[in-house]
């Protein structure tokens, strides 16, 4: 098997004959491929590059908070017109685009796009997605989004209304330098991302419902597949609301459009422009936006939860603890996730009575999360954990998710949230969930499924170094944010030290920035490990981890069409260390009563 090089540039992979599939040629194979694995890898590489972009933007933010108004090393000359300084306009753009890139171009597509695409057909025993062309389009719809996000920098320095784009700031071009064409580009890009996600989500639901291998009942599906399934449902129901809201805001904005005023009330004098004529309600945007974006945080978390469950069971050589409670709690998170959006709006001026109902539903969503944590600990309990990079990342996921979950209770409690809302406490919370949990889960998943993607393993030593450095950098960057939040440091301040009561926080911010730079550099290890191992990593067999799932029955990497013959499933995916079986793993495809320990298929080349 040759190494698959799915990047869009000029890698010249040579095509082997893929069984009964004819060789589709370079363009069809690597660029406009309809093969779910190539699309998954395309998503993975694109999102990893975007991770670097998003990280660089974050370092700009961190620089300003640690060394306000000082010229950045290396990058300072880029802003020579401002004396090398980060201007406040540029600072607002930095954090807006950091969040935008990380959420829309990294976390959502790396989970659903990269791993969802790669794993769903393999893990359920299908030869491809239900709609391969739609799948290809879902990847290629990401590029217009990237293009429009990029274009937005050309208008007034880039969108700068925060990733939440609250009107009126985001609705009127006069409101800020970045609220003109940049904001329109931003909205168009988000719409493209929405369409891309929607195509994926429809595809995943159809594939999981219709294309499971014989014997793969719903409750024999790995938790990864359950999580992808639930995520796809969440996306399908939540996304149309954001898309609609985005169109409404575009209609409000464009001078040559329908002159609607969904979000703009009358009589505002913004930046000495003419008073607005309207009758709209800015809170409507917040409701619509969070009706999508709160379920979206579970879209950014559930797949990682599923993948970590699978990896923890495999690496602990033990069945998952409480499979069905795991499934039910994911379903509960998804269900409750639709009725908690108002907790972003406790101070927003919506009817205060609503605050109470949103508080109760929000606090109760901690329950299924807690059940999952207990089950993960139970999974490791009494196992024989293999302390490799995959396992360490998964343990970090559990450990850090606990912090993110617990800090969530503070802001779910309305009176406490009154104080900590829009402070760094919130920033600490969502980084513990989205970075601490999701990204560590993703790092583990890259290491774990890399052999299946490329037929070679990643270096465990580099993986461990990457893990240790990232872990230290992560906690050094984000844990002190809790304290900054309690100290009352608001988010999105270009210079918090203008306020005397925040002056003493400067040294702590410097420590955090140094940690963040360390963490940023650690990601080059990941990139190096990834690219180096793609070509020079140790070659591996079909099942290097001795795991149970269907994906490990296929060759590494699997050819177009995945399996040599249709796999038949006899048991759930977590029969590790089964007392009736001689091996400590028991493939889902191995017929019962077969010779103990016999491999079901011929050993791979």
């Amino acid at each position: 098997m040759s190494t698959i090089s799915p990047t869009v540039d000029t890698h010249a992979g040579h095509g082997d004959d893929h069984g009964h599939h004819h060789d589709p040629g370079f363009v069809r194979k690597y660029l406009f491929s309809t093969d779910h694995k190539v699309i998954g890898i395309q998503f993975l590489i694109t999102t990893l590059l975007m991770l670097m972009v998003g990280g660089a933007l974050a370092l700009g933010v961190r620089w300003q908070l640690a060394f306000p108004w000082e010229s950045m090393p290396f990058f300072g000359p880029l802003f020579a017109s401002q004396g090398g300084q980060i201007s406040p306009e540029f600072y607002t753009m930095l954090f807006t685009m950091h969040a935008t890139v990380m959420i829309f171009l990294v976390i959502i597509p790396i989970l659903a796009g990269a791993f969802g695409n790669f794993l769903i057909p393999l893990m359920i025993g299908a030869d491809d997605m239900a709609f391969p062309t739609l799948n290809m389009l879902s990847y290629w719809f990401m590029w217009p989004a990237i293009l429009f996000f990029g274009l937005s920098f050309l208008f007034g320095g880039g969108p700068a209304a925060g990733w939440t784009s609250y009107p009126v700031l985001a609705a009127l071009a006069e409101a800020a330098p970045g609220s003109g064409g940049a904001q329109t580009c931003w909205l168009i890009a988000v719409t493209f991302i929405g369409v891309s996600s929607m195509m994926g989500s429809v595809n995943y639901m159809t594939t999981i419902i219709n294309m499971r291998a014989p014997g793969m009942t719903l409750f024999r599906m790995p938790l990864t597949i359950w999580s992808m399934f639930i995520t796809a449902i969440l996306q399908a129901f939540a996304l149309p609301v954001l898309t609609a809201a985005g169109f409404m805001l575009v209609f409000d904005r464009l001078p040559w459009s329908v002159h609607s005023t969904f979000f703009v009330p009358s009589g505002l004098v913004v930046n000495n422009a003419e008073p607005t004529v309207g009758g709209g309600q800015p809170l409507l945007w917040q409701h619509l936006f969070w009706f999508y974006s709160h379920p979206a945080v579970y879209i950014m978390l559930l797949p990682a939860m599923g993948m970590v469950s699978d990896m923890l069971a495999c690496m602990s050589r033990k069945p998952i603890f409480g499979y069905k409670p795991m499934v039910y709690s994911m379903a509960a998170i998804a269900g409750l996730g639709f009725i908690v959006w108002g907790h972003h709006m406790f101070t927003s001026g919506m009817n205060p009575a609503l605050g109470m109902t949103f508080m109760i539903s929000t606090i109760m969503i901690a329950l299924p999360s807690a059940v999952k944590v207990f089950n993960w600990i139970g999974t490791i309990w009494g196992g024989r954990p293999q302390f490799n990079a995959v396992f360490l990342n998964c343990v970090a996921f559990v450990s850090l998710f606990i912090v993110g979950g617990l800090s969530g209770i503070f802001m779910a409690a309305v009176p406490v949230d009154i104080y900590i809302h829009d402070t760094y406490f919130i920033v600490a919370h969502f980084h513990y969930v989205l970075f601490g949990a999701t990204l560590f889960g993703v790092f583990g998943a890259i290491q774990f499924w890399f052999p299946k993607m490329f037929g070679r393993t990643m270096s465990d030593t580099i993986g461990k170094w990457h893990f240790v450095l990232t872990f230290i950098g992560f906690n050094g960057t984000f844990f002190p944010m809790h304290l900054l939040g309690v100290a009352g440091m608001p988010r999105r301040y270009a210079d918090p030290y203008l306020h005397p009561y925040l002056e003493h926080l400067l040294p702590m911010n410097q420590l955090m920035t140094i940690s963040a730079i360390l963490m940023g550099f650690a990601q080059f290890l990941l990139l190096f490990n990834f690219l180096y191992s793609m070509r020079f990593g140790e070659k591996c067999s079909r099942n290097p981890w001795n795991a149970n799932g269907l994906e490990w029955v296929a060759p590494s990497p699997p050819p177009h069409g995945n399996f040599e013959s249709v796999p038949v499933v006899y048991r759930g995916p977590y029969e590790y260390s089964h007392p009736d079986h001689s091996d400590d793993y028991w493939l889902q495809t191995e017929p019962p009563g077969a010779q103990p320990g016999a491999k079901p298929q011929a050993a791979p080349a």
């Binding site: 505002l268 205060p352 605050g355 059940v371 207990f374 139970g378 104080y419 809302h421 829009d422 210079d495």
Partner: protein, 278 residues
């Protein structure tokens, strides 16, 4: 895996290093918010320590099991129904308790029928305002704009009596920018508006935060315990100058506030023309 210890240590030393609340809560409601904060902090710290110890324990015993020569077998288990029921019901109870425990404070803070109307009316009466006039009990109207706070106070009638604050601006009204003065020791109410984009009225020492939403008039009440100057900031992204919407809130005894308002009245009605006998 020693990071939980480091985290706990950091939290332990944080208050004395000043990495904690900017000051103790300076309002009765702020104190209750802090009490709720500490209640949640205790619960979550216990859960944090408990789960991290459990995680450390299973990792440590697991690591020992993988030692060469250790014959202990893996515990083959798909889970335990009893444990699942237990660790669902117990956290559910705790979480529900936390949720219900918050409601009283929230009700007093924001639900209009529970505002301390009587105390506010009494305060107005003490200062000689005719409280029979229908209308709000607000003492000031705060309008947030890019990037300043404009404050409108009621003025005095010809006899020198303080007028109630009307919804629409009156010729007698008095104005300041970035300088909010209100009586201390009594509940006071402001009407919060926005002149352009969304802002948020944030008094960290009083634990007060309320967004100023374009198109809405939002009543906010609070009570400053001590007569002193507090910080007033914007807490909702409002554009490039968001960080510099810096203002002060001066709380002073009722009579001093009235005196300050009279001085403001003199200042704003001063036409600069010196009176002569002619």
């Amino acid at each position: 895996m020693f990071w939980p210890l480091a985290a706990l240590y950091l939290c332990w030393i944080a208050p004395e290093r000043g990495w904690w609340f900017p000051s103790e809560a300076m309002s009765p409601l702020g104190q209750r918010i802090d009490d709720l904060f500490y209640m949640i902090l205790i619960v979550t710290t216990v859960v944090f320590i408990g789960t991290q110890i459990a995680l450390g324990y299973v990792l440590w015993t697991g690591a020992r099991r993988t030692d060469p020569g250790n014959e202990e077998t893996t515990w083959f288990s798909h889970g335990s129904h009893n444990l699942e029921v237990m660790w669902t019901i117990v956290p559910a109870g705790i979480l529900l308790y936390i949720a219900l425990y918050q409601i009283d404070v929230w009700r007093e803070f924001r639900m209009r029928p529970y505002f301390p109307q009587e105390q506010m009316t009494a305060s107005l009466t003490r200062m000689g305002v005719d409280t029979d006039v229908p209308g709000d009990r607000a003492l000031a109207e705060v309008t947030a704009r890019q990037f300043e706070w404009r404050i409108r106070y009621p003025g005095f009638d010809e006899d020198g009596n303080l007028l109630p604050l009307m919804t629409d601006p009156q010729p007698t009204d008095l104005y300041t920018v970035n300088d909010l003065h209100l009586p201390a020791g009594v509940p006071v109410m402001i009407n919060l508006l926005s002149g352009d984009v969304q802002h948020s009225f944030f008094l960290p020492e009083l634990r007060v935060k309320q967004d100023a939403v374009p198109g809405l008039v939002i009543p906010v009440w609070f009570q400053a315990e001590k007569s002193q100057t507090y910080d007033l900031l914007c807490a909702e992204l409002c554009g490039w100058g968001h960080y510099k919407m810096k203002a002060q809130f001066v709380a002073e005894p009722e009579q001093e506030w009235l005196q300050w308002l009279r001085e403001l009245h003199e200042l704003q009605n001063e036409d600069g023309v010196e009176e002569t006998d002619e």
